[in-house]
């Protein structure tokens, strides 16, 4: 992605549009960032909250450049029960579910699917009020 890439504005989103898959390593550096915020992670199992933070990272990395001031309005998550562990690399795909302009606000829903070791561990929907 270059600086000249076009800003992702509401007008450019289309239902079903894919933003690709972002791989995020749950490595020692990531674990250190987690521990700094939330304390020790005793289990080798990856905390659900870490999967959510990785989902946000994938969503942000996949859709660039983006306007400042987007608002994360609501969120649905389904954890499948399949395990993920520290040192796994999560593969997180991001796509546009739909968009709607309502009361002057630009609502966009993004679908996400996170996998570890080829198994889906979580799916979700990020509903945002897009800023531009």
């Amino acid at each position: 992605m270059t600086d000249e890439a076009a800003l992702w504005t509401f007008d450019r989103f289309e239902s079903g549009q894919s933003f690709g898959t972002v791989n995020i390593a749950m490595d020692e550096a990531k674990k250190a960032e987690w521990v700094k915020l939330f304390g020790p992670s005793d289990s080798s199992r990856l905390p659900g909250g870490m999967i959510v933070a990785a989902m946000m990272e994938a969503y942000i990395r996949a859709i660039q450049p983006r306007p400042n001031g987007n608002v994360h309005a609501s969120q649905a998550l389904s954890f499948t029960g399949a395990p993920a562990r520290w040192n796994d690399t999560l593969a997180i795909s991001v796509f546009c579910r739909d968009k709607e302009e309502r009361k002057g606000r630009k609502w966009v829903s993004f679908g996400v699917e996170a996998s570890a070791g080829g198994q889906v561990i979580m799916t979700g929907t990020i509903r945002s009020i897009w800023a531009a």
């Binding site: 960032e33 915020l37 939330f38 199992r45 905390p47 946000m56 400042n68 969120q75 029960g81």
Partner: protein, 122 residues
């Protein structure tokens, strides 16, 4: 046995914590980090990342049920902003088919609310 409530967890927000979360989630939206930018928005100043409240809630769920594999569905709304500097607490109360979950500030403002359904509690 399913508990009647989630174990509660609290977090004191401040600019350093918000910056650390921005690193963790790679979310550098100036709404959370830039006083000048945020003061020009309807929020009037920097607010905590919504997903950080959500992560706190997920931590409360894991403290309650343990880290064993669970199939669970969560559907939440961010109902009010959390100003950087506010302390938040995550919890939940059992309902007929799951939990009513929440995150609120010390003055009782709900900032996240929703539902949790757990298929296989540990």
């Amino acid at each position: 046995m399913t508990p009647s409530a989630l174990k509660q967890l609290s977090l004191q927000s401040d600019p350093a914590l918000t910056a650390a979360y921005a690193n963790l989630a790679h979310d550098f939206n100036p709404l959370h980090l830039d006083q000048d930018f945020a003061s020009q928005t309807p929020f009037g100043g920097p607010i905590v990342h919504g997903s950080m409240s959500l992560v706190l809630l997920l931590n409360a769920i894991e403290v309650t049920f343990g880290a064993a594999a669970t199939q669970q569905d969560l559907d939440i709304r961010f109902t009010a902003p959390v100003r950087v500097g506010e302390r938040i607490t995550a919890g939940g109360d059992r309902t007929d088919d799951g939990f009513s979950v929440w995150v609120r500030t010390d003055d009782g403002k709900d900032v996240l609310s929703g539902t949790l359904r757990i298929a296989s509690p540990a």
